[in-house]
Amino acid sequence: MTAVQYLRCLRGIVWREALRFLHQRERFVAALVRPLVWLFIFAAGFRAVLGLSIMPPYETYVLYEVYITPGLIAMIQLFNGMQSSLSMVYDREMGNMRTLLISPLPRWYLLSCKLLAGVCVSLLQVYVFLLIAWSWGIDAPLLGYLTVLPALVLSGLMLGALGMLLSSFIKQLENFAGIMNFVIFPMFFASSALYPLWRMRESSLLLYQICSFNPFTHAVELIRFALYGEVNLLALAVVAGCTLLFMGLAIYGYDPGRGMMARRRGAPA
């Protein structure tokens, strides 16, 4: 297999993901409505309740809407990552996954392509969200829209890899409802998406510690700083490290010699 063939494969997988995405317009609308409700309703109501001090990367007092925008971006990616994992479980049950896995290219590569395709879709969602927020006056420095891109790719990869990892452990589609309760909500609320962590420390030290260990917090902070043209090194390291860890485990989970594929049929029905 040559490098050109690897590239064709990547292009094919991204192309299919894009086609599927275009066919599911409801999914696109849902992916946008969710953060917009948070932004326009929740944030507006909370603006008065929650006082924010000046903190990096902000150089002045910012509106609450501005504060939660990076968190909502990460939320879009979180949902997208979980949705991709849902579609992988679905593909596996429906048999579409086999089309992917009988490709002669290495399995780790196929899974990485799949991950990247999911990230591309999430980027589209994020930029449309940013555009709507911008038209409402919730904006970042112009250059920030460019510098946030690498951060979005990395955080998208981390959350997508987490979804893929979960999908390799989920045996059936029904179990997926649990993901919502046990992964998405805890990750989102126990993070710096909605409130700065110093606020959290005031109410509970334990919760504060949980939040600061949550990889989602670091994804949010990575995006927040990148949106203002800055690099949060700690967040970068944590997100990069978690991406590698989650991907490694997901590839292990789909390994034909070891993972769930081999065990699945043997599991008690």
Partner: protein, 268 residues
């Protein structure tokens, strides 16, 4: 590969290397033994029927040959390439039609084919040309732009065959391809695949539980509870079992008696 050639070694250019060689393969799920020391070969240009009841281990075998998961013991070679050691070379040479429908319902026929071609690293122009040729051969040319969802069961299967042949494999694996099809579609599917054997010298492994899909000249690999009970030409299997036809031979060999079933076409 070299040993196989040395043993068979009469034909030039390694033509004697079997398209598919399954050698002493066993596989278990937990305590249940799904395959027990299974061995057989399929030559290029041979139509082999993997015959067995539901639960005989056919799908497990397909999963191992296509490396959905690895075999724990024994070896599976495709034109001499062991699936576990050299999956890329092995998988590039096979086309597969799975028992489950694996087409993307929301995409068009052509889009499905192009996706498959990309997974095999084929250039887009070549994929389009090959796709149109295969669809034309299967009388599906005018459905190329339709969504897969709009096709009938028989048409879906034909698209899956066109897709499996896109990258010009030398071995075609079909797992219960006629399930859910009416008699007419079944027959035309069989005829088409038999035509491929004649015209393109493809090796075929056709898994089924329907005895009437077997022709006299076919190799029959009779799989029962994970074991190979017979592996020979259909007429030889019948002769050796001392019975009148394949159905009686099947009953005698598997001990699946008491079905009566006159005129039934299914394996009892």
């Amino acid at each position: 590969m070299s040993t196989a050639e040395a043993i068979a070694g009469t034909t030039p250019e390694g033509a004697a290397t079997p398209a598919l060689a399954v050698e002493g393969v066993s596989h278990s799920f937990g305590k249940r033994r799904a395959l027990d020391e299974v061995s057989f070969t399929v030559a290029a240009g041979e139509f082999a029927v993997l015959l067995g009841q539901n639960g005989a281990g056919k799908t497990t075998l397909f999963s191992l040959v296509t490396r959905l998961y690895d075999n724990r013991s024994g070896a599976i070679r495709i034109f001499g390439h062991e699936v576990r050691r050299r999956p890329s070379e092995a998988l590039a040479r096979i086309g597969v039609v799975f028992q489950q429908r694996t087409l993307d319902l929301d995409l068009s026929v052509t889009q499905n084919l192009l996706y498959h071609a990309a997974l095999h690293g084929m250039p887009r122009a070549e994929a389009r040309a090959r796709g149109s040729a295969e669809l034309a051969r299967l009388d599906l040319a005018e459905r190329a732009r339709d969504k897969v969802r709009q096709l009938s069961g028989g048409q879906l299967r034909r698209v899956e065959i066109a897709r499996a042949l896109l990258h010009e494999p030398k071995l075609l694996l079909l797992d219960e391809p006629t399930v859910g099809l009416d008699i007419g579609s079944r027959q035309s599917l069989l005829n088409h695949v038999r035509g491929l054997v004649r015209e393109q010298n493809l090796g075929i492994l056709w898994a089924t539980h329907l005895i009437d899909e077997v022709a006299e000249d076919d190799r029959v690999i009779l799989l029962h509870q994970g074991k190979v009970l017979a592996n020979d030409r259909a007429e030889a299997v019948v002769r050796q079992s001392g019975t009148a036809d394949l159905k009686a031979a099947f009953t005698a060999l598997t001990g699946a008696g008491g079905t009566g079933g006159e005129g039934q076409e299914r394996a009892p």
